[in-house]
């Protein structure tokens, strides 16, 4: 069936030649057609999130819809189920239609952010990015099309939520800490916040800290092991996100200690909010919310106003184009207003001035 004098080998050689000939017409991606420039009144509002069935992103999308009602503009939502390639190709498709668009996006990881902002610049749209961004890349380095980047300072919220834990412990006792992936920026900031709170509360001792890589199953087995290592000495559990806090909670239940040891987490995941609502049984006393409705509404509003020219991006200061949003510690007393979407007028002032909740520039 296969023999020595493969004509196809020679044919393949021919293809190589034609490709080499094409070398003459080489160019570089960066000098692509520049942004069509300018703004226009006919702008489509778009928000790109991981998935509609993820409650955090579902609330984010509701925020975007609130903006749509406020500015009576139809908001398009695109979903990527956590796959960077899909997110990128869908955003690129926006450019294909040739219309100016305003995009509020939660990139999957920092390396995708760079590709997204370049694609939007190329297509002449306006984008506001949140959470993940390469540390050494700033909106003003790329173009006016990258309007701004919003992130959240883990250190301040870390300190506040740690203090809530120490108060619940009566100011004294030992805690164990479950870290996120050690090198992720939010993980480092939140742990720094915990250490700052520890300095302010000498009565609290950190017995041990282990990484559980943001994962619920790992948090379960690490907590189990630490519980058995420090039998009876653990008075509180600090976790860098709700996912791990819930894993620790399951480990406590398995050890029959549910409700006896206070737990705190971050991200205000619905399951965490429910546990906070009956914190006397669960011992789950606090988490931190970035107010996803605000993220959806204010972020899209900022991008939209830049696209319609209401906000001149060139006049924005560096602090306005890269700022920390406000984070709120959620405890039993204020958990109520985080379980359902806010009314439009509660958010109206933020929609008009997206920078209202700015906590200062990203350092």
């Amino acid at each position: 069936m296969n023999h020595i004098f493969r004509r196809r080998g020679i044919v393949a050689g021919g293809i190589a030649l034609t490709l080499a000939a094409a070398l003459i017409g080489c160019s570089s991606a960066s000098d692509d057609s520049g942004s069509t420039g300018g703004t226009s009144d006919d702008v489509t509002a778009v928000q790109s999130i991981r998935s509609m069935s993820n409650p955090y992103h579902a609330n984010w999308a509701d925020g975007g819809a609130l903006f749509g009602d406020w500015a009576d503009v139809e908001v398009v939502t695109i979903v990527d189920e956590g796959d960077s390639q899909t997110q990128l190709s869908k955003i690129r498709a926006l450019g294909a239609e040739g219309k100016v668009f305003a995009l509020n996006v939660d990139p999957n990881d920092s390396s995708t952010t760079e590709a997204i902002v370049k694609a939007v610049t190329e297509a002449g749209g306006y984008v506001v990015t949140q959470w993940n961004k390469p540390d050494d890349l700033w909106p003003w380095d790329v173009s006016d099309n990258w309007v701004a980047h919003i992130s959240f300072n883990g250190e301040t919220s870390g300190e506040e939520v740690s203090q809530a834990l120490f108060d619940a412990m009566g100011g004294s006792g030992n805690i164990i800490a479950l870290q996120g992936i050690l090198d992720n920026v939010p993980a480092k900031q939140r742990f720094a916040g915990l250490q700052k709170a520890l300095e302010a509360n000498p009565g609290i001792k950190l017995l041990a800290d282990q990484t559980a890589n943001w994962d619920r199953a790992e948090a379960f087995s690490v907590t189990q092991t630490l519980l058995s290592q420090y039998q009876g000495q653990v008075d509180g559990i600090w976790a860098a996100n709700d996912n791990m806090a819930l894993g620790a909670f399951e480990a406590l239940t398995a050890a029959g200690l549910a409700g006896t040891i206070p737990i705190v987490g971050f991200d205000a995941v619905p399951e965490a909010l429910e546990n906070i609502q009956n914190s006397d049984e669960t011992g789950y006393i606090a988490t931190v919310s970035t107010d996803p409705w605000w993220q959806g509404g204010a972020g899209l509003s900022l991008a939209y106003q830049a696209a319609t020219g209401k906000i001149k991006v060139s006049e924005l200061s560096h602090e306005q184009r890269a700022f920390y949003g406000k984070q709120i510690v959620v405890t039993l007393d204020n958990v109520g207003d985080f379980t359902k979407a806010p009314l439009l007028d509660a958010l109206k002032s933020d929609l008009e001035n997206p920078f209202l909740r700015s906590q200062g520039p990203i350092s």
Partner: protein
């Protein structure tokens, strides 16, 4: 007295059997054997047509760029795997080695520049060499050795990178041109990968020992008894797989501008699917670079096609699994398997 003028009559000379011989196609290949190699190409063309109808701008320059950019690392990984599958083995660690390669590149390029790339390629090729050496010398099934290697090198990768993606702060332009350069408006990364595939096809077609891996896959005992070192050939196949994992790593770092311990892991299944759907048989001996190129294009076009048709990305994983089982079942050559473990 040579064989030429033997006395007894020779059956071939007898006219009736000569006539009979004419009916059987000269190369003893039924028309079915001729057609099956073309099926993947037909599938690819059909796919492109269907998608273009559904989404006209699929053939636009814009989406072609996206297509070529995403085929580049996948094709390189698939080519590396092809060498091993040709010998009848499998390399389960090739994607993990590529991820490990991106971590090395992200750590070394900033301070070593091009030297970092060469060193990283050396390391991944060395990993392939060691895998091949263990399989060939210890005579241990390749799927077990490479399964162990998968754990070993992803473990080391996670360890030295602290389980997080490392951004290429400076020194990126050493690889940056790969992602940035355009040839005739098309991304250099994709074209380069295709050119590499073509070069391999040409070499396999013209080199003296070009089809040695095929021979090893088809008839290893006969090859060994003809004085060809099957140990050296097998080690070569695995070393090439390691080298191509390294090349795919370079391509990934260029496109993503960062390295990560699991950056290429998600490509393990699509890359194996690409090799198999292209027509390379899992039992070895049948296949080539052109088949793998077609296979890689089918996978990439399908990925875009699936989302164009509105299929939820979650179904992609189901699709890869099903394609692998179906394609292997079709291309497998049962006569070659004594007992299927």
């Amino acid at each position: 007295m040579t064989l030429m003028n033997r006395r007894t009559d020779e059956a071939a000379a007898d006219p009736s059997t000569a006539a009979l011989r004419a009916i059987v196609p000269a190369t003893g290949r039924s028309w079915r054997d001729r057609l099956t190699p073309l099926i993947p190409l037909v599938v690819l063309i059909a796919l492109v047509l269907v998608i273009t109808i559904k989404q006209p701008n699929f053939l636009s320059l814009y989406s072609m760029r996206g297509l070529l950019e995403s085929v580049a690392p996948l094709l390189l990984l698939a080519l590396g795997q092809m060498f091993v599958i040709l010998t009848g083995g499998i390399d389960l660690a090739f994607a993990a080695v590529a991820s490990f390669g991106t971590v090395l590149l992200a750590l070394w390029i900033p301070d070593m520049g091009p030297g970092g790339i060469v060193l990283a390629l050396l390391v991944t090729s060395l990993i392939g060499f060691v895998n091949g050496f263990v399989v060939a010398k210890a005579q241990v099934p390749s799927f077990i050795v490479t399964l162990g290697a998968l754990g070993l090198y992803s473990g080391i990768g996670l360890w030295i990178s602290g389980a997080s993606t490392i951004r290429l702060s400076e020194g990126y332009d050493v690889v940056g041109w790969l992602a940035d350069l355009r040839i005739a408006q098309l991304p250099a990364s994709g074209l380069l990968a295709i050119v590499i595939a073509v070069v391999i096809a040409v070499l396999m077609g013209t080199l003296r020992r070009g089809r040695a891996l095929h021979a090893l896959g088809l008839a290893e005992p006969a090859v060994l008894m003809s004085g060809i070192s099957t140990v050296r050939l097998r080690i070569l196949a695995f070393t090439l797989s390691g080298l191509f994992s390294g090349l795919a790593a370079v391509m990934l770092v260029a496109l993503q501008r960062s390295g990560g311990p699991s950056l290429a892991d998600s490509m393990q299944l699509p890359a194996i699917a690409a090799v198999v759907i292209g027509g390379t048989a899992i039992t070895g001996g049948v296949g080539g670079a052109m088949k793998t190129l077609v296979g890689a294009l089918i996978i990439v076009v399908l990925r875009v096609g699936l989302s164009a048709v509105g299929v939820d990305p979650a179904w992609e994983q189901v699709f890869y699994g099903a394609v692998i089982v179906a394609a292997v079942a079709l291309t497998i050559d049962r006569s070659r398997l004594r007992s299927i473990k």
